[in-house]
Symmetry: C2
Subunit: 288 residues, 2 copies
């Protein structure tokens, strides 16, 4: 059931992103934008659609928000891969944007993908102006200098810090870098339905942390061909990770405990939240 739901969401998001970009001028920067949103697991977009479904909102009324978070995520990856940042040549099994084109194109394509994310949240299909505006405000808070960008900045700073980060510091860094956007995605359905997002907040916090711990485990244990990106970078750089701080088994059991916590947070929704529970189990079982 879960693989089919995920595949259906991935296909719907891909189709919608294509449509959102058809009006763009036939220019290299637009080609790079399309390239940057191709492939990937689309877990954030899936989370948006599942969160909407949980509140009785169908795909058509939430797809702009799912596409928006995928644009936002893609922009962060394109900029994060730049030579001045993580300097990665491979992403989702393909050359990164600055390798395929050049750095200027990657900077501009990332910039325009962020813009497109906010533009998509203004689409009328998402409902009343109040709700669309709430999504804009919350995405801005999640992705800016208090959220995702802060996490990225702390991550870059950690590379040249005199001492490795502590568990508390890494947890805070990751809450920004990956947690904030996952948190936004999880609460979209509640905002669109005018419902209480609190149980989804607890779910998303545990999910986001489990996701990042699983990423650190994957960096150590994973297969680069399956992951579609360079691995073993953290250990080579001497960076503190959840694995270096907790050990491999300790990190795995912490991630499993967080998945159980995420599932438990969904208790108020009963059986209807099965898709979100399956997603939580998936994030620590994935190979990419």
């Amino acid at each position: 059931m879960f693989p089919e739901r995920l595949a259906a969401a991935q296909a719907a998001i891909a189709t919608h992103l294509d449509a959102a970009m058809t009006a763009l001028p036939d220019q290299q920067v637009a080609h790079a934008m399309r390239y940057a949103v191709t492939g990937g697991k689309r877990l954030r977009g899936f989370l948006v659609l599942e969160s909407a479904a949980l509140h009785g909102i169908g795909t058509a009324a939430a797809i702009d928000a799912a596409a928006a978070v995928e644009c936002l995520h893609a922009y962060s990856l394109v900029h994060d891969d730049l030579p001045a940042m993580d300097d990665d040549a491979l992403r989702r099994g393909q050359p990164t944007v600055h390798v395929k084109w050049d750095e200027a194109t990657a900077i501009l394509a990332g910039d325009a993908l962020q813009t497109l994310a906010f533009q998509l949240l203004t689409e009328p299909a998402l409902g009343t102006a109040e709700r669309r505006l709430a999504l804009v405000a919350q995405l801005a808070r999640a992705s800016g200098a208090e959220g995702m960008v802060l996490g990225q900045a702390l991550d870059i700073a950690a590379e040249t810090a005199p001492a490795p980060l502590t568990l508390d510091q890494i947890t805070r860094l990751q809450a920004g870098k990956t947690g904030a956007l996952i948190g936004w995605s999880a609460m979209v359905g509640a905002v669109l339905a005018g419902a209480d997002p609190a149980p989804l907040g607890g779910y998303a916090r545990a999910l986001g942390l489990a996701f990042q711990i699983a990423d650190d485990v994957l960096d150590v244990e994973g297969d680069a061909a399956k992951a579609g990106k360079a691995l073993r970078k953290d250990a080579a750089a001497g960076k503190a990770t959840f694995v270096s701080l907790l050990g491999l088994e300790g990190a795995k059991s912490r991630a499993a405990a967080l998945v159980a916590e995420a599932e438990a947070a969904l208790a108020p929704y009963g059986a209807r939240a099965e898709g979100l529970r399956a997603l939580a189990r998936y994030v620590i079982a994935r190979e990419s």
Copy 2:
């Protein structure tokens, strides 16, 4: 009258930007954001406030939009100054962000300034959710891959193009690179008041083009100390500009004609539009 109005707007925008950034974490990326929005002429923000005043809307009900466009503009300068783009070391008489800190900080500060621009447009002081959402949608269109970013991309591409651009191509490039954001700024007052923005559109198109021609003239005739940035870069790079295509005197008379056109477009507003007329005269007389 005009210098005092401009100075008052600059001060109000500076105060508001400070307030908008006080909540940011005490981190390098936030310091770089504050640095990047310091100084500058704030012509776009002034345009927002004058456009609002023309529609009977006071500073308090428009200042978030003025601050937003200055954040958007500052982000574009920070990224445009990067080594992979225009590679500029001096901006507004100070070291550019990547020179003062590093490239990663400049990329992230620019990213977060774009985010902050959209966040500011969600502020309740700007009026109904419908109007704030319209400002978000229109700023996204003006600044993304159909507007400002497209103009930047065409500008970068022109540097390695086999032949210099034609007048039509440069006009199109500049309509995106500087015109779109000036156009957005000019119509904010009409959107906030629910009025017809058409006369302001004609004003902004002529103003934007006059502004860019004046920039090209300044690049040839200006004083780098007063301009606060490197000049004579276009000729050194063999780039086509309005001056290379029209000649120095031809460019000046074209700019003057556009200013007259901009002033004429304001006829429906009568004497109330004097601030906007003075701004049009200022853009071709400035030394920075």
